[in-house]
């Protein structure tokens, strides 16, 4: 752990952010629901300390002075190319549907949605 400690695995001081940002079981359930991943109670209980551990660790970024720094937009200088307005694709329904767990009459099928 000497090596690990040197890399500031667990920062000493991030009280303001840390206190406000730790997750509890309710939060974990909410995140899991947002991410559409079913979780059991046991899984939630295991995830709470695990996620807090990781989140606590990443929150050391709070100590970096980033005033006036623009968030990185392109890692290597490059500009967005635009393509011509030409139809070059499509009419490949067989390919589109080929791997579908359930395809019927040219559609993907899903459990009935009530809007």
């Amino acid at each position: 752990m000497g090596f690990v400690a040197a890399l500031r695995l667990m920062p000493a001081a991030m009280p303001a952010i840390r206190a406000g940002m730790s997750v509890d079981a309710t939060t974990v359930r909410k995140i899991a629901s947002l991410a559409r991943i079913a979780v059991s109670d046991a899984e939630v209980d295991a995830m709470v300390p695990e996620l807090n551990n990781i989140l606590g660790w990443i929150e050391q970024l709070g100590e970096v002075d980033t005033d006036g720094v623009a968030p990185l937009a392109a890692v290597i200088p490059n500009h967005l190319r635009l393509r011509d307005d030409v139809v070059t694709d499509g009419n490949i329904r067989d390919q589109v549907l080929k791997n579908a767990p359930q395809a019927e009459h040219g559609f993907f099928a899903v459990p009935k949605v009530i809007e």
Partner: protein
């Protein structure tokens, strides 16, 4: 013309909902999704054509196959920029695409590529006239470019919904207004004006039946002078009439809720066109946490001056400018200028008609405008056609107007000739020639007919000369009848007067 709607007589100052506790003001903002006119989709090379077989216009990118990546279509960006320029909006030379994350079967990627933080187009304005002569400015907050979703079919199987991705990835402009409208009429006028501008610019065909334009309607109510109330958003309303009805219903519903001691929940609602009511969507509580972040598959979109210059140079004359020109230099009435410029196809037809006359004076413009608005529109209405598939061409219309102007045809003869044109598609000159419908201005021929008429009605001539002036009309009618309607009415009048008084 089912797009056209009677503007309700209420205006900003007067539209109020009368509640038990007093008057309520309605506050309306619209987010219009307009399909960008393009051959291919926003980020893939699949076609945007309407009405294809299910999942035919779908690329592997649109189906979000693993490892597929978006590459933006220049034309979609260009059309959004041109639209922004048409409403005098700020064009952002640096913008970028963000992902809006949510799960739904019509959204294969699990996110919609949109623009939240840095939209392509910033603030602009649209002027509307909810009532004749009264102008109001509606603020535009932004226009951003985004992907359309696919389509879910619910009625083809008892326990399954079917997913068609043909629309998935089609380019949309989302045009977000400020909450500046205060009545259904203003919202209607705004939508019609916006549609007109889009069609002039050519950035959207405005076809609401095919879903090319649909509105999310944000409505809140307040006591006049109070701060904004909590708003609801009624999604995907697809006609002007429905937008107005949705506002009407939703505002009244909110007043009822508030007056019975309830509170308005900020929520997404749906409009039921059959019942004319809005209802809450069964949305999950997390539906609003979209976790927007910049799409890491795309770089920032940076536009150069040459691109912007081309966008600007390619803009046509827009409805407000055209209308001002029609009223000013061309001397048309406010009403005529309004009708002729309301839709780009009408204006285009009118200008082709004027061009074909070879003249640009006020008299010609007036004659052309009158004929187009009353005769041509009347005929198209009867035939169930619109101006883009008119059986009569602008050149033929100009020829007809020319025949009136040079007195070849009288007004009533011109109407006869026009009816024959509609049936046969023939040129008016040909019809006049073949059917001898030419108006007679030959005074000798007219005098001869008049002589016959006077001779045959000697008693009435005597009565007239005895002071019964009203009989003059009788002689005109008899003369015209004898000439099968082809006598020039002016000449007939003049020669009759001379013969009777002489």
């Amino acid at each position: 013309m089912d797009w056209y709607l009677k503007v309700c007589e209420m205006t900003e100052s007067s539209y109020r909902i009368q509640g038990a506790t007093g008057e309520w003001e309605v506050v309306i903002g619209l987010e219009v999704h307009a399909q960008v006119t393009s051959n291919a989709k926003l980020f893939s090379g699949a076609s945007t054509k309407f009405g294809a077989e299910p999942n035919a216009n779908v690329s592997l990118v649109d189906a979000a196959m693993p490892g597929m990546l978006p590459v933006p279509n220049r034309e979609c960006i260009r059309q959004a920029v041109r639209t922004g320029m048409a409403i005098d909006a700020q064009i952002n030379k640096w913008s970028r695409f963000d992902r809006k994350n949510y799960f739904y079967a019509d959204l294969p990627q699990g996110y919609q590529i949109s623009q939240l933080y840095h939209p392509l187009v910033g603030e602009g304005t649209i002027s509307i006239e909810p009532e004749d002569g009264e102008t109001k400015i509606v603020g535009i907050e932004r226009i951003h470019v985004e992907q359309d979703a696919g389509k879910l079919m619910h009625d083809q199987h008892p326990t399954r919904s079917y997913v068609d991705l043909n629309r998935s990835g089609v380019a949309l402009m989302e045009i977000v207004s400020r909450p500046d409208m205060r009545s259904p009429a203003e919202a209607g006028a705004y939508l019609r004006k916006l549609r007109a501008i889009l069609r002039y610019v050519g950035s959207c065909d405005g076809n609401m039946e095919e879903g090319s334009m649909r509105a999310d309607v944000n409505v809140s109510v307040r006591k006049p002078g109070d701060p904004f109330g909590t708003r609801t958003e009624t999604k995907n309303v697809n006609s002007v009439r429905f937008v107005m009805a949705a506002i009407e219903h939703e505002a009244n519903r909110q007043v009822d809720v508030l007056e019975s001691g309830g509170t308005i929940v900020q929520e997404t609602r749906l409009f039921d066109p059959d019942k004319g009511v809005t209802r809450s969507m069964r949305s999950k509580e997390d539906a609003h946490d979209y976790r927007y972040f910049p799409d890491p598959d795309l770089l920032p979109l940076e536009l150069d001056d040459a691109f912007l210059a081309e966008c600007r140079a390619s803009l046509p004359e827009l409805p407000d400018a055209k209308r001002a020109r029609y009223e000013g230099p061309l001397g048309l009435s406010t009403y005529a200028a309004g009708v002729l410029t309301a839709d780009v196809e009408t204006a285009r037809w009118f200008e082709a008609l004027m061009a074909a006359t070879g003249k640009d004076d006020a008299a010609t413009a007036k004659a052309a405008s009158n004929w187009l608005i009353s005769d041509l529109f009347g005929a198209l209405n009867r035939l169930g056609k619109d101006i883009t598939n008119s059986p009569v061409s602008p050149a033929q219309g100009a020829q007809l107007l020319g025949l009136v102007a040079d007195s070849t045809l009288s007004g009533s003869l011109a109407k006869q000739v026009f009816e024959i044109m509609l049936e046969t598609g023939d040129d008016p000159a040909k019809i006049v020639e073949e059917r001898g419908l030419k108006q007679t201005t030959d005074t000798g021929a007219i005098d001869a007919v008049i002589a016959d008429v006077l001779a045959a009605n000697a008693d009435k001539v005597a009565e007239y000369r005895g002071g019964k002036d009203k009989l003059f009309g009788f002689f005109v009618g008899q003369t015209m009848k004898a000439m099968a309607g082809k006598g020039n009415p002016g000449v007939v009048n003049e020669r009759l007067k001379a013969a009777l008084d002489g």
